[in-house]
């Protein structure tokens, strides 16, 4: 009986196997890397309407985070300050800076500056800043080293898995109340015992059920 297939087709199963394995690996790897929030979200740095520098204000001038983000200890939203907060100082300091033109316009017209939000979580996830601060999670843990940021950049993926990493094991991220706003914080050598004590004192029990965040 005549052969149906030419001889070179004998190699096809091997080639096919390699293609399937390599292709499957490549597709999985592609989504694993490029589809993850580490790739899609981390590093987000939108252009802000005013060229505000956290490095200057919070870093070099040493202003406390809570001077502007007043709601962080008491409510769900840390809050972006209104123009009035800027003008507390800028009626006296750098009153004719070109960079501050928009702030002065806003001050004169009463129209707020449209700051672009950087660290966002979806509507269907409930988040409240105050219990995190009360438990002892530092600003830096989620927002990064803000005092050295010329422009605010997202540094953490803010994915559900990332949230759960800490909710399942909060101990490494707890600090004494006095260190909440510290940047480049170095945990003490006895972090484990400190955290255990704090979890016990503050009755820290982060929710890991669905309804903890998806209310």
């Amino acid at each position: 009986m005549a052969q149906i297939f030419p001889k070179w087709t004998n190699a096809l199963p091997t080639i096919l196997l390699i293609v399937v394995l390599a292709g499957g690996g490549a597709i999985t790897g592609f989504f694993w890397y490029f589809g993850s929030p580490e790739y899609t979200d981390v590093g987000y740095q939108p252009v802000q309407p005013v060229d505000y520098s956290h490095k200057l204000h919070a870093g070099e001038l040493g202003m406390d985070c809570r001077y502007c983000h007043t709601g962080v200890e008491t409510g769900p939203i840390a809050g972006v300050p209104p123009t009035q907060t800027c003008m507390n100082c800028h009626t006296l300091v750098k009153t004719d800076s070109k960079k501050l033109e928009r702030i002065r316009d806003s001050w004169a017209t009463g129209k707020p500056v449209k700051w672009v939000r950087v660290n966002k979580i979806p509507d269907y996830a409930y988040f409240d800043h105050s219990p995190h601060i009360a438990a002892g999670v530092g600003c830096e843990t989620c927002h990064g080293d803000v005092r050295n940021m010329e422009k605010i950049t997202q540094v953490e993926p803010l994915s559900m898995g990332w949230c759960l990493d800490c909710h399942r094991n909060p101990a490494p991220n707890l600090r004494p109340a006095s260190e909440i706003t510290t940047m480049n914080y170095i945990p003490p050598a006895n972090q484990a015992t400190f955290a255990a004590q704090r979890i016990k004192d503050k009755k820290i029990k982060p929710p890991i059920t669905c309804s903890g965040c998806h209310r």
Binding site: M1, I4, F5, S159, M160, W162, L164, D165
Partner: protein, 462 residues
Amino acid sequence: MSVENTVAADTFTEPPLIKGNQTFASVTEIISSIVEKKPKKAWFVLFGLASSLVMILLGSIGFLVWEGIGVWGVNNPVGWGWAITNFVFWVGIGHAGTLISAVLYIFRQKWRTSINRFAEAMTIFAVICALIFPGVHVGRVWVAYYMFPIPNQMAIWPNFRSPLLWDIFAVGTYFSVSLMFWYTGLIPDLATLRDRAKTVLRKRVLGLFSLGWRGGNKQWKHYELAYLLLAGLSTPLVLSVHSVVSTDFATSIIPGWHSTIFPPYFVAGAIFSGFAMVMTLAIIARKIYNLEDIITLKHLERMNMVIMVTGMMVGYAYSMEFFIAWYSGNEYETFTFLNRAFGPYAWAYWIMISCNVLIPQLFWSKKIRTSIPLMFVISIFVNIGMWFERFVITVTSLANDFLPSSWDYFSPTFWDVSLLIGSFGLFFTLFLLFIRYLPMISITEIKGVLPQADPHYYENHA
């Protein structure tokens, strides 16, 4: 020795399974020619009809995805409407395939050979139809992959304690094992078709799928073992798949669902409905393709007996549900069953009882179970009755549960109906494509049950 054998053979021989004094060559010819000739007119008419129903299915799915599951008749107490009804219905249909091919194979029931191929095909197509419904009922189909345990950035798994997840595994396993079993069975027949092929393309396509089958002794040895192993693997699936499907209901606390009878009750119902569907299809196919010699009246009669027996098992389950509802003294359970029989859905309940319990009793009469038109009509009734069984279970328990203030009546919408009709279209389209392009009866296995296949056949004639 040979004299004794002859005596024994004369006394105990069964009437032949295959009629018309067939030879190996004639069997090959009858079955292969169906897929080699141009299809008959009836095929084109049926295919046109079935594929236009598929268009309805695709359109309905499109609209459902666009608009959301609010287009269905589901309401507040009845969150599971026709989608789950259709899902269970189709999975149930799929059961006969595995039972016929695997269980009857292991019990060496030779009469299975005439029907196992298309019963298996039917299984696969029914499971495809079934899988549509859990796929679309999630509403946001683009996140349907949440149902599978895939590592993800949310760092969560599906709920492993949920029977809905077990369902994914059970039906997925069932589908893949059935597909493998079916394909393994097809390999020697595909090789037969390849050897008969005239065009190069046909030779190559069939050559590819027959995996280089040459029919050598060693190949047969491996093949038989593989087939037996797959049959062994499929056998527990006959019981497990519908048991798991039944736990979708039974693990909940709704009266009428929370019951330990569910797994065996569902399995019996699945075999019952599956056999009825095999009958419906077999009767049409044997008529159109003149296969009366291969699918004989004897085959059909045996299937009718299985339908009658499983119908009685289902009837037993119905009555046992009532008995336990009374015997348990649980007022909610009692109410649920009285409500089924005499409440707002009594019409559906009595359709179910008449189609599933009463009508199959007609098969006690030999005249009826050997009459082709009557058994065809009865098989259709069983199909209808088994769809209503799932409807009754799903809807009546949800519509009237513990709190009378939340009761409501379920009415299907246009889109409920169009999806059900469309799924039938898909089923028949796939089935018609199957009988057009693949041998619908196993050529090799039919040859195996011919008298000539007996090693002593030629001795007797010598």
